[in-house]
């Protein structure tokens, strides 16, 4: 029939086929794409590569990283023998994990409230975390320093944990709100009718659907605290050394021990990479919702 052939005769040009790229052959287009990806990848990977290289060079070869052929693991051994570094490593892991675990519950419920509830309590809470987000991060530090001193929690786990939990809640509640916005609330309505309380509908229906979001949240919280420097610098000292701060202490009056600092940094990279590797699936699907 003629009707069937009508639309095949004049195919509409596909949107992406117009413009500059349409002038290239498909092969050239693909080559261009790969070149671009490799270029961007290189820009991102280069500092990391340099860091790893530096960590493998002897102290004498620091400023000729690109030239020498002499490689060594001595930097790592030296760092491992440093009690402070090991202690800081463990402290950082414990604090990142504890802060994540402790903040997760509040962040999730707070995100859920922001997503589902209207009214004075929800909008009040919204304003509070909004204000905290608007304040420059650095301006929290001095009050926190004085506060932790006065409360006697300066340079303890608690003294660093509490501010971190607060930051997690303020910064990641939004993320969680986004996840819940993407989950159809009628599932919870069905649960209410099926005999659940409001809390029950949240825990038994909304929460299981938010698992990818929760996993993404946990990864982001953990990495945040693991990498955080400013709070750690001002709220901790010799009692509770933290990795990022210890790393910075290779800069001292006698110069900068680039090789040791690099080795520590590479060690710090390990868990972060591991977490990212296992968590990225969730982070990606979580952020897609």
């Amino acid at each position: 029939m003629t009707v069937a052939t009508l639309d095949t005769r004049t195919p509409m040009p596909h949107k992406s086929e117009r413009g500059f790229f349409s002038l290239m052959a498909p092969g050239a287009r693909r080559a261009f794409f790969y070149l671009f990806v490799i270029g961007v990848g290189f820009i991102i990977a280069f500092p990391v590569l340099w860091l790893v290289l530096t960590s493998l060079r002897p102290a004498s070869g620091m400023f000729y990283v690109h030239r020498g052929t002499e490689f060594t693991l001595d930097n790592f051994f030296e760092v491992f023998e440093n009690r402070i570094v090991i202690k800081a490593y463990i402290n950082s892991a414990i604090i990142a994990t504890l802060a994540t675990v402790l903040s997760l519950g509040i962040t999730v419920t707070s995100g859920y409230m922001l997503s589902r509830f209207r009214g004075p309590i929800a909008s009040g809470w919204f304003s509070i975390i909004y204000v905290f987000r608007c304040v420059p991060y650095i301006s929290w530090v001095l009050p926190l320093y004085i506060l932790t001193q006065n409360l006697g929690v300066y340079d303890t786990y608690l003294g660093l944990l509490l501010p971190h939990i607060a930051v997690h809640i303020c910064f990641f509640s939004w993320l969680m709100k986004g996840f819940f916005d993407g989950i159809d609330p009628s599932m919870e309505y069905a649960a209410l009718i099926d005999g659940c309380t409001r809390w029950g509908a949240f825990v038994r229906v909304a929460l299981p659907s938010a698992v990818p979001g929760l996993a993404a949240l946990a990864v982001l919280c953990w990495l945040w605290t693991w990498n955080e420097f400013l709070f750690a610098l001002l709220l901790t000292s010799h009692q509770t050394p933290v990795l990022t701060v210890v790393m910075a202490q290779f800069v001292h009056e006698l110069g900068i021990e680039w090789n040791l600092m690099s080795a520590t940094a590479v060690m710090a990279l390990g868990p972060a990479l591991l977490i990212t590797f296992f968590g990225q699936k969730y982070v990606i699907t979580g952020l897609k919702i």
Binding site: D184, S186, M187, Y189, L192, I193, G195, S209
Partner: protein
Amino acid sequence: MAEVVLNQLVKSYGGMAAVRSIDLTIPDGAFAVLVGPSGCGKSTTLRMIAGLEEISGGTISIGGRVVNDLPPKDRDIAMVFQNYALYQHMTVYDNLAFGLRNRKESEARIAEKIAHAASILSIEPLMQRRPKQLSGGQQQRVALGRCIVRHPQVFLFDEPLSNLDAKLRAQMRIELKRLRERVPATSVYVTHDQVEAMTLGDIVVIMKDGLIQQVGTPLQVYNDPANLFVAGFIGAPAMNVFKGKLDAAGEKVMVEGVALSVGERNRAALRGHAGREVMVGIRPEHIALGSHGNQLEGSVDVIEQLGSEMHLDLKMGNAAFTVARVAPDAPIRLHEKVTVSIPAERLHFFDADSQQAIRPASLSGALAA
């Protein structure tokens, strides 16, 4: 089963009223369909009955018990949602069992009830699947099953068929009718599709702007629409409406310069409106080609061939109207002049200002009672 009574029900969001004042009694076991255009407050009304929406004013009672302040779980209702709202992280079986487990029924009883519901809906092979692995029609059945297993006093449906394609929708409509025989319960069904309303409802409730326009059986709302809105909303193709003027005796009405007899049935009611402007309605399917009784002449503007019948759009001066049920092989050409006959007894009259129907006394009396 239980009677559902809405008494001066009001819902406002901030200053805006979504439901303005609804009085409605749905008898025990009846299937009531709320129908109306988008945004008229159907879903809001339903959600208030379910307890998912707070009530701004009035009362709702189910089975003689005022439920205004009861949470949804204590109202003994079940609801089917437009997007099915199945629990995505559970199997079909667990979806069906969820409500029963909440009521602490034994697993054996639950299995029995689910088997029964599954056989009614023919969803037995799907029990171990997850909602994402089901087609729209299958999800719909599971959602129905989740309601059936609980044996609630009242079923609530919010546009359950609107996400299905036309064919499946027609099929599910028939299944819903069958289901009613096997699982009788008072039901409130929301739709904007007047075909669903007519075919499913014992009672059709037509709403607009948060108010009920008319309540009646499907035939009542079709035969005697209470106002112009209902007249235009119920029936497809929609009722033709003309501006007209009654003569001094109230026995003839002038439409586009043609005098039509108003018919025996309407004469008494129209007497009070003699000499005034009125709106005259006639359904496309009640107009016939030919020249007996009241006649109008128009030129054919559009021909719609449906196979089983033809629809003609005719132009007559400034007015236009549709004629349905024309024989599909009738020798009619575009732009040709045709004469149609309008049975006087089928005419509907509406007040030009209030848009309310001017109905024979016997009828308005019967409806008010």
